[in-house]
């Protein structure tokens, strides 16, 4: 037993020494690009980063999450080279150079088992402010409505409120969610739920056979195609921000991210490449 213990200790010490040696900066020629911010953009940024690395062998692109406000503050404090922000910039943020990568539409979704096929603006406002509480008042089953709202501060919420002319204090939801996937899963599990999520994600899930349906907004069908041709009214921009006008490696990356070379990656995440 004692011998085993000694062996284990030796292995651990060797491992630790090896680990520490590895931590020495061994290849000073490797350039690192750090992106932080929105977790919505993160998977896309990571894929773009991988393709960029394949084209530039001495570059590493590290993507971290932390939210859009993290993206702004890290870019400003130069803790990151590029910030990922999944919304339009606020007035006090406009001093940072921003580059729109893609568009993400927002659709209202219902469970497929819900017979209601469309809702107009007034009905949606009434549902979300708690004035209509039963589906039968809008032509559906006799069942209580479960209105699903997004958490405060989220850009999807801001856009939704802005479009319908509401304040968050007006909204009386039954459930509050964080990510799109949570919204979709909530509607999947509750036939009387109504929620609003990213169009791309919803379209994908519906295409995979998930029992949800996307409602048209003001008569325009909610589809990625309609976001692409700008006919769909509700969409948010996915932005990259930099501390100052981009130069060198950062400039190369931004140009790459804005080029048609990554359109397939953007579409693989169910966003729409920003029109140029």
């Amino acid at each position: 037993m004692k011998k085993l213990g000694i062996v284990i200790v030796i292995v651990l010490i060797t491992g630790a020494v090896w680990g520490l040696l590895q931590s020495q900066p061994s290849e000073p020629k490797i350039d690192k690009l750090v992106l932080t911010g929105s977790s919505t953009i993160a998977p896309l940024a990571a894929e773009i980063g991988k393709r960029f690395e394949a084209l530039h062998s001495d570059v590493r692109v590290d993507v971290q999450t932390g939210g859009s406000s993290r993206g702004i503050s890290d870019a400003r404090a130069k803790l990151a080279d590029i910030g990922m922000v999944s919304r339009a910039l606020k007035d006090d943020e406009k001093d940072l150079p921003a580059f729109t990568l893609a568009l993400d539409g927002i659709a209202v979704i219902l469970n497929k088992a819900n017979p209601v096929a469309a809702l107009d603006k007034q009905q949606i406002i009434a549902i979300y402010t708690g004035k209509i509480v039963n589906w039968k008042d809008v032509g559906g089953n006799d069942a209580p409505i479960t209105a699903v709202n997004k958490a405060e501060g989220r850009s999807t919420l801001e856009l939704f409120l802005h479009y319908f002319g509401l304040k968050n204090t007006d909204v009386k939801p039954q459930v509050v969610i964080g990510d799109n996937q949570q919204g979709i899963k909530t509607v999947l599990g509750n036939p009387d739920a109504i929620a609003y999520v990213s169009i791309g994600t919803a379209e994908y899930e519906a295409g995979q056979g998930a029992a949800i349906k996307l409602l048209p907004l003001d008569g325009i069908a909610a589809s990625v195609e309609n976001v692409r041709n700008r006919s769909f009214p509700l969409a948010r921009p996915l932005n990259l921000v930099t501390p100052a006008a981009p130069t060198g490696l950062v400039k190369d990356f931004i140009e790459f991210a804005e080029s048609p070379q990554v359109h397939d990656l953007i579409e693989a995440q169910y966003f729409v490449p920003a029109p140029r």
């Binding site: 406000s69 479960t146 405060e152 501060g153 459930v175 509050v176 909530t186 509750n190 009387d192």
Partner: protein
């Protein structure tokens, strides 16, 4: 009592090693205090109780419903997990045949290692819809309690199991020799001997329940309100921080850190109350 020199050196070394634990707590408290500063400078503490609601973007910072939700969820989870956990430990120590006991213990160890995300995901897609059929919307205080109970059960079970294993065999042999029935042996000898450890295990589980973030975020519905029934959606303080931190700036962000401090105070109060009921064994 004076110790030989080697022991005094050892004691000093041990004290140094114990410092990080205290240091970390202080650092965390300082960190929370520092990040809360921006909002505390112009928002009085009582507003965190007396404001009309929690709508930080409109300057409203009421924390009470979320404090209540955290408390209810934790207590509910403990009420479920403590007896089940203790029973699980008893099962694997005294009631089950050795092979079954080993398998059962392995299963509990695995339950302890399943990520909170998985519990939340399962709760959202499987448990909540079931509860929703009983009473919409499904995501509620009840589903939060159930999922939390499942998550903290391994902590109770494993610590009690270890405690029971440490009960000196002599105690049990004497009890058996005296002709005590199995339950008298367990309830009258083993459990009381292991009581301080059981209390420690429950306290650890309570800590885990209070601090759980991901799973409750997914299954409690996240509506800021005082629950009128078990089926009402609620938002715990931890879920609140996780939900809004990513997009919060300035005062909103600082207010979230204030809720973090409120949590720490809650933990302190809970722990102090628990310690009142716990008597330490004296030994040399």
């Amino acid at each position: 009592m004076s110790l030989p020199r080697a022991d005094r050196r050892l004691a000093a070394l041990l004290r140094i090693c114990a410092l990080p634990a205290v240091a970390i707590v202080l650092l965390i408290l300082l960190f929370l205090a520092r990040e809360s500063q921006p909002v505390l400078q112009h928002v009085a503490l009582n507003r965190f109780i007396s404001d009309a609601s929690w709508h930080p973007l409109q300057g409203l910072y009421r924390l009470t419903p979320m404090l209540a939700a955290t408390l209810y969820a934790t207590l509910g989870a403990l009420l479920l997990a403590a007896p089940l956990g203790i029973a699980s430990a008893l099962f694997s120590r005294y009631y089950a045949p050795p092979l079954l006991a080993a398998g059962y213990r392995r299963m509990i160890e695995l339950l302890a290692g399943i990520p909170s995300v998985v519990y939340g995901f399962w709760g959202l897609t499987t448990l909540a819809p079931l509860i929703g059929r009983l009473h919409p919307p499904g995501v509620s205080l009840l589903s939060g309690m159930l999922v939390l109970a499942l998550m903290i059960l391994p902590t109770v079970a494993l610590t009690v199991d270890a405690a029971l294993a440490a009960v000196p065999v002599a105690y049990l042999r004497s009890a058996a020799a005296l002709g005590l029935s199995r339950w008298s042996l367990i309830g009258g000898v083993a459990l009381p001997a292991a009581r301080p450890s059981i209390a420690a295990g429950i306290l650890l589980a309570a800590g885990r329940a209070i601090g759980e973030t991901m799973a409750v975020l997914m299954v409690t519905g996240n509506v800021v309100q005082l629950p009128q029934s078990l089926f009402d959606p609620v938002r715990t303080l931890t879920a609140n921080i996780a939900l809004e931190m990513a997009y919060a700036t300035g005062d909103h962000r600082a207010a979230l850190f204030v809720s973090g401090l409120a949590l720490m105070v809650m933990v302190l109060v809970l722990v102090a109350t628990a310690e009142l009921f716990n008597q330490e064994r004296r030994h040399v």
